[in-house]
Symmetry: C2
Subunit: 263 residues, 2 copies
């Protein structure tokens, strides 16, 4: 009995958030797949926050309300961005740092350049700034009816390894799962971020008053032919795992610049 | 006469944006300081967008209106984020890539970890993704009455060098100017991003209905003792220049992870 109590006391605290909102099927899939690994607490946006990047709310106050939508799991919805959710969770919900922060499962790809626009990945990156190891999960399927079977199979495997191995307190993983049947998945592959970007083409329209307005649209173009990238891995049925960092210094250009600006 | 025409034809196109909004004194200071170096076009948010990070607008359409607030300068206000401004400027205003994109001058510091939350720096980073060299300028003074003299002195020096030397098409510089008199400035210093972060402490209040709400507050803490960081440079009266990049891959952890996940 004492042993059980001790084990319970030391079970890891797993903070879960996302950017699709607390009611999205993806976050439910993530909660279901890892809840046996520790004490799960959910703090997620009360509405979709896709494309919010690393935005924080500074001009408005934030709200936090308990929600009872996950059986046996403490969950809160927050009026802010995914990054706000992580900050608020640590200070006002958990009153401590969780052992790991998970974000997702995102409905849609966050590989390559998407990482920079993604609220899902920004929440994970925020956790890593706070010395909380983190993983963001995304499925290459935007549909609300997406099949999360593959992601649900591999998420707990990865979470368990990261919890056990304690690789780095700033570890932040960008994990993307291809949209294929679970039997076809070849497993996890550690990659680098591909150099790919969107070729924007705004859709120009006129409103009923005759005034112009613009919808952001764009075509994803991969310029990177490397076989060590996340795009390559996903195209070849692997789950891509890219460790990402919050030190944005371009060290290569730093050297070049030092010479150039002084010459 | 032909010579003048030729020179005019080849004058660089300089796109200017910010995150404090098109009417902020900082963007006016930037326009004034570099308008002799090329054809300046301003596309900036129609309202403050501080802390918006790399957010893009995907759930709503965008508006773009001409504004006549800079004498002799084409300027537009956009309803979106700083990153939206860059994308829209290229596709719908300039119909080409500018030779350089400048962002700022921000009212407030964007050194160290601030780079990740900053709309000013995200606009610059977006430009660099698009192969447009870019510089984000920030002054360590939040005040609307801030003295931009030092920033106005060094901005054109740096812009001219970057335009001439064509160091890299993806060059993106995070430039911060200390809040001191211009005579005390020691010049430009190429640095790396300091490891510093905010220790959050949400201010908890009750609204007139008795419901809780939270204001984000926090104390900036520098954990980095290096003398090659932007924080160090600014504390020692230098203008910090940090080249930043959009490849977020953590290459060091990539190696470690590869060994760890396969063992």
């Amino acid at each position: 009995m004492a042993k059980v109590k001790k084990a319970k006391k030391h079970q890891p605290v797993i903070l879960i958030t996302n950017d699709d909102g607390v009611s999205a099927p993806g976050i439910r899939a993530l909660v279901d797949s890892v809840k046996h690994l520790g004490k799960v607490v959910v703090v997620a946006p009360d509405k979709p926050q896709s494309g919010m990047g690393h935005a924080i709310t500074i001009g408005y106050p934030l709200r936090l309300h308990p929600v009872h939508i996950f059986e046996g799991i403490e969950a809160w919805e927050c009026s802010g961005t995914p990054v706000d959710c992580v900050k608020l969770a640590v200070d006002k919900v958990l009153h401590r740092k969780p052992d790991i922060c998970l974000s997702g499962i995102n409905h849609g790809a966050n590989h390559s350049i998407n990482v920079i626009y993604s609220g899902t990945m920004s929440a994970a990156l925020e956790a890593s700034i706070e010395s909380i190891p983190s993983i963001g999960f995304s499925l290459l399927d935007h549909s609300l009816e997406a099949d999360f079977t593959g992601a649900k199979k591999y998420a707990p495997i990865l979470v368990e390894q990261i919890l056990q191995k304690k690789i780095d307190k700033h570890l932040c993983l960008n994990v993307n799962v291809p949209k294929i049947q679970v039997e076809l998945l070849k497993g996890l592959k550690v990659c680098r971020q591909a150099y790919a970007k969107y070729e924007e083409k705004f859709d120009e329209r006129k409103d009923p008053s005759g005034r112009d307005y613009y919808w952001l649209t764009g075509e994803f173009v991969n310029f990177d032919k490397g076989k060590d990238t996340d795009v390559w891995a996903l195209e070849h049925n692997y789950i891509s795992v890219v460790p990402i960092e919050f030190d944005f210094t371009n060290y290569q250009l730093k050297e070049k610049l030092q010479q150039s600006l002084t010459s």
